[in-house]
């Protein structure tokens, strides 16, 4: 039995957006992908651009449902997950 796919909305900002080549995508990773870390590992397999964008993982920050998140943060179907560089506003 295969786990049901998990629809997620993934957003990219600043140089993550430029490297991935899109600001937003709808993805359906398998159910095992239930943390930010697992989602990153899965997203890296989607294309060479994803792989390149996430290669500097230490410099990539994440928010789940518009809240800053870390690699252990859980990801559930329907979540909005955003990846971006450290913020530089102000």
């Amino acid at each position: 039995m295969t786990a049901a796919p998990r629809p997620l909305r993934v957003l990219y900002f600043a140089w993550m957006r430029e490297r991935v080549g899109t600001g937003e995508e709808a993805v359906q990773p398998p159910a095992e992908v239930d943390t930010v870390a697992a989602l990153v590992a899965w997203l890296r397999t989607r294309s060479p651009r994803h792989e390149a964008a996430f290669a500097m993982a230490a410099s990539v920050r994440c928010a789940v449902n518009q809240d800053f998140a870390d690699p252990d943060t859980t990801v559930a179907p329907g979540d909005e997950v955003a990846f971006f560089p450290p913020v530089t506003g102000g």
């Binding site: 957003l11 900002f13 600043a14 140089w15 928010a63 518009q66 809240d67 800053f68 955003a82 971006f84 560089p85 450290p86 913020v87 530089t88 506003g89 102000g90």
Partner: protein
């Protein structure tokens, strides 16, 4: 009580200060910080600065930052405005106001608000240089250090 706004256009500092104090006379001091676009970075001339943000999360993050300041100091009001889009050297990027009965609270809250805004709100700056090249601004370790003065990034 806090005013939080993301906007493309310039802000009118005098009007924002007037709005903060309108109809009240319990304020003893208003602290203010205006961040402006500089015409150079690392010795290279800058012709424009583009601010990108995360719509939705930005407003939430700014409201949380304002609430954190209000929980920490007896503020009688605070204002956080941040511009997005393309700005020119000399233009204002960010405006922070904090009003209190006494000056030290107003000034401390102003420093706190700008430190946290720089490290906890999802804005990103891209510089365009005089030679046409563009580059995303790197996060400064000094900003994290400044923000950490106020306690753990909890």
């Amino acid at each position: 009580m806090a005013t939080v706004r993301v906007q493309q256009g310039a802000f009118d500092i005098g009007a924002e200060i007037a709005a903060l104090g309108a109809g009240r006379a319990d304020i003893g001091g208003i602290g203010c910080f205006v961040g402006t676009v500089r015409d150079q970075a690392h010795g290279r001339a800058i012709t424009a600065m583009t601010l990108e943000h995360y719509p939705g999360m930005t407003e939430q993050a700014m409201a949380r930052i304002a609430a954190a300041a209000e929980a920490r100091w007896a503020l009688l009001g605070c204002t956080l405005l941040h511009r997005v889009g393309e700005l020119r050297p000399g233009e204002g990027i960010v405006l922070v106001l904090a009003a209190a009965a006494h000056r030290q609270a107003a000034l401390d809250a102003t420093g706190f608000l700008i430190d946290w805004l720089k490290t906890r709100a999802p804005f990103w700056k891209k510089e365009r240089f005089a030679d046409g090249q563009e580059g995303w601004v790197d996060a400064r370790e000094a900003d994290d250090t400044a923000a950490a003065r106020w306690g753990a990034l909890g």
